[in-house]
């Protein structure tokens, strides 16, 4: 706990520094655009190319800023050992943080929002860790072109969970249950049990994570 708090504190400070770096890049690119704006192409023939480049810098600043925003939020996650959270928001943040998993495996990660909020009362760092772990396990298993859809779930007893539904790519079909048989699924089940969570099949191509 102390270690994760320390990690979070340092990460939060660094995201703040990085925001300042992006702010300077953004203003410098903006100033260049301002200076080029009124100039005539006959005086500066590369004007449009430069404006185009400045536009790309702008887009990347926005992208970097969005990433830092989520990373900053994430860095504060260990501040509470237990917290009530809207599970839809937790899923959205986790998917944002899992973009690398998605990109490396060529798998689409999507969420389906619930009609009414499902509240999760759990350790916020652990919930994200378990969700991330599931995606890390599932993405290479289902393979390129597939989709993993996450949906917040409320059980009859009021507890919360997440349903993972996988869809094969247009050119293939698969059975998730069969895939799990040849995988390290058993080890993953044990890992989740030690975190007081459980995972199990829920229909043909779905898995349920219960917190």
């Amino acid at each position: 706990m102390k270690e994760s708090l320390f990690m979070g504190k340092v990460t939060a400070a660094m995201t703040h520094e990085m925001k300042n770096v992006l702010a300077i890049i953004s203003e410098a690119a903006g100033l260049a655009q301002d200076l080029l704006g009124p100039s005539d192409e006959s005086v500066f023939p590369l004007k449009n190319r430069f404006l185009n480049i400045m536009g790309k810098i702008d887009n990347q600043v926005t992208r970097g800023s969005d990433i830092l925003g989520v990373l900053n939020y994430f860095s504060h996650v260990p501040d509470d050992e237990q917290r009530q959270e809207n599970l839809d928001e937790v899923l959205n943040q986790t998917l944002f943080l899992s973009r690398k998993i998605s990109r490396l495996n060529g798998v689409d990660l999507v969420t389906e929002q619930t009609d009414s909020p499902v509240i999760l009362d759990y350790n916020p760092l652990k919930s994200r860790m378990l969700l991330y772990r599931m995606l890390e396990f599932l993405a290479p298993l289902v393979g390129k072109g597939s989709e993993i859809m996450l949906r917040a779930w409320r059980f009859h007893d009021g507890s919360a969970g997440v349903c993972f539904t996988v869809k094969a790519s247009a050119s293939s079909t698969f059975s998730l249950t069969e895939m799990l048989n040849g995988s390290s699924w058993g080890a993953l089940e044990t890992e989740f049990r030690t975190e007081k969570a459980s995972i199990g099949p829920s229909g043909n191509n779905s898995l349920m994570l219960s917190f």
Partner: protein, 126 residues
């Protein structure tokens, strides 16, 4: 826009100088300070319409500067700059009298729009 007087306060010198130049190109009179202490010193002789104030600075923090400004010069409107993705710092600042807040990196049009609204509020209070 030409009559707007802005005091820009941030310890990131390159950010301040570049943004000041951009605002100046749009006809806004900009004075700069690189710390809270320097900003308060400047305000003893120079009264801006709007102060653009970074929240996280070494020495006197943005919130402390905000408190002093609102006590000594309540007619000056303050727009806060936050570096984090979280809105909580900005909202805290607004509870303490700031006109509004923006998150870095800035969109120049959004900043100018906010300065305009703050100037309007400051002049309607005169």
């Amino acid at each position: 826009m030409k009559d707007w007087k802005v005091l820009l306060v941030d310890d990131e010198k390159e950010f301040v100088m570049t943004l000041a130049e951009r605002l100046g190109m749009r006809g806004i009179k900009v004075t700069t300070a690189f710390s809270g202490e320097e900003a308060l010193g400047t305000m003893e002789t120079y009264k801006p319409d709007v102060m653009i104030l970074d929240l996280m600075m070494p020495g006197m923090s943005g919130l402390v500067v905000l408190g002093r400004v609102k006590r000594l010069y309540p007619e000056v409107e303050v727009i806060l700059l936050t570096g984090t993705g979280s809105a909580s710092e900005g909202v805290t600042g607004m509870d303490q009298g700031a006109f509004d807040y923006l998150t870095k990196p800035l969109q120049i049009d959004e900043l100018i729009n906010k300065i305009g609204m703050a100037v309007k509020k400051a002049s309607s209070a005169d």
